[in-house]
């Protein structure tokens, strides 16, 4: 944790934008963050809310190192902020840390993928009920 520094964001702050350079990540200590996707000509659509203990951001780990989504604080957020470059450099020197971090991040990505898949199904109604009529 020596690499992490404490940061806070006021409610409503844009923490990062879709397409921006992904060079940091955060572990949320408290507060809520909405992940959103840009919809041209409309308000961004929120796809997931993250809370305490969750990892915010994984796009820094793999090319093209650009944010897949945008992130906005929904309430005052306290988080540990990490510089992706520093962490990756440390990982290169410390294979054990590298392995632990990768395992953790891959699990998070897996979880978000499963959640995304579940949400693509018509979750809360009988088959076919999602369409009117």
């Amino acid at each position: 944790m020596e690499l992490g520094r404490e940061v806070s964001f006021p409610a409503g702050a844009r923490i990062f934008e879709e397409g921006g350079r992904a060079d940091h990540f955060w572990v949320i200590r408290d507060g809520g963050v909405n992940l959103d996707v840009h919809v041209p000509g409309r308000r961004s659509a929120v796809v997931e809310t993250l809370g305490a203990g969750r990892l915010l951001g994984w796009s820094w780990l793999c090319p093209p190192h650009q944010w897949h989504l945008g992130a906005e604080a929904t309430s005052p957020v306290h988080a540990w902020e990490f510089d992706a470059g520093e962490v990756l450099a440390l990982c290169e020197r410390d294979p054990e840390l590298d392995h632990a971090l990768l395992t953790y991040v891959v699990e998070v990505i897996g979880r978000r993928l499963r959640a995304a898949r579940t949400r693509l199904l018509d979750l809360y109604g009988p088959y076919g009920s999602g369409s009117p009529g």
């Binding site: 809520g32 909405n34 308000r43 659509a45 929120v46 796809v47 997931e48 809310t49 809370g51 305490a52 203990g53 969750r54 929904t74 499963r114 959640a115 579940t118 949400r119 199904l121 018509d122 979750l123 809360y124 109604g125 009988p126 009920s129 999602g130």
Partner: protein, 267 residues
Amino acid sequence: MTAVPLPYRVVSNRPETTDTRTLTLRPVGEALPAFAPGQFAMLYAFGVGEIPVSVAGLQDGTLTHTIRGVGAVSRALCAVRPGTQVGVRGPLGTGWDLPAATGRDLLVVAGGIGLAPLRPLVQAALSTPRDHGRLNILIGARTPEDLLYRSEPDGWGRPYCEVTVDRAGPEWTGRVGVVTTLLDQAAFTPHETTAFVCGPEVMIRATGRELLHRGVPAQHIRVSLERNMHCATGHCGHCQLGPLLLCRDGPVVGYDRAEPLLAVREL
């Protein structure tokens, strides 16, 4: 349980969402035996047909049902006017069995209309806080407009209740995401927890797996499985899921029995 439906009068018919309504029924003459949370009734819309519907409330000698209009019978029931009569058979099926969870933390996980059968369980748990440990109510809905009992979850109170939606509109300031993401915020000791899960089958599977992963024992994960029902008396086989006849052995079963059946394709 009565073989013939008893007449009940519709006392009120309240809209919940665009396609879902809550009916309150009172017996015209003889009343059915008491229902337990999680059990269901066969509701008969005269001249149209009969469908299984869970009890969504059990107060003051009335029966409350929340019904989503998806086909002929459920739409007919959604359209009944106060004062008219419907036929009711029951109580049917297994219940949530809250007493078996005495002393344990309670985790209620609902997806969409799955909140309806869980509502009387929540009400029972709220009225007997000393009989169990911590209570968590996690509710997922497709959109904010699809949330049932919108005035009520507040009444169930924080810190108990968390709500998340799949798709948020501009007005929504709450959480977005699948209901399992709410587990991170819930306060419970997994091996001392009994979970009650109701919603669409994909949601039951996702929640069951996540709870097992977190250490809630399979037999303490109670899920409600629904199949089309016909006789509701264990004779016709319409409601079969593997070795279970869900009108008799369900709808509430332990995840230890449900999981292998839910994993099979095309039962």
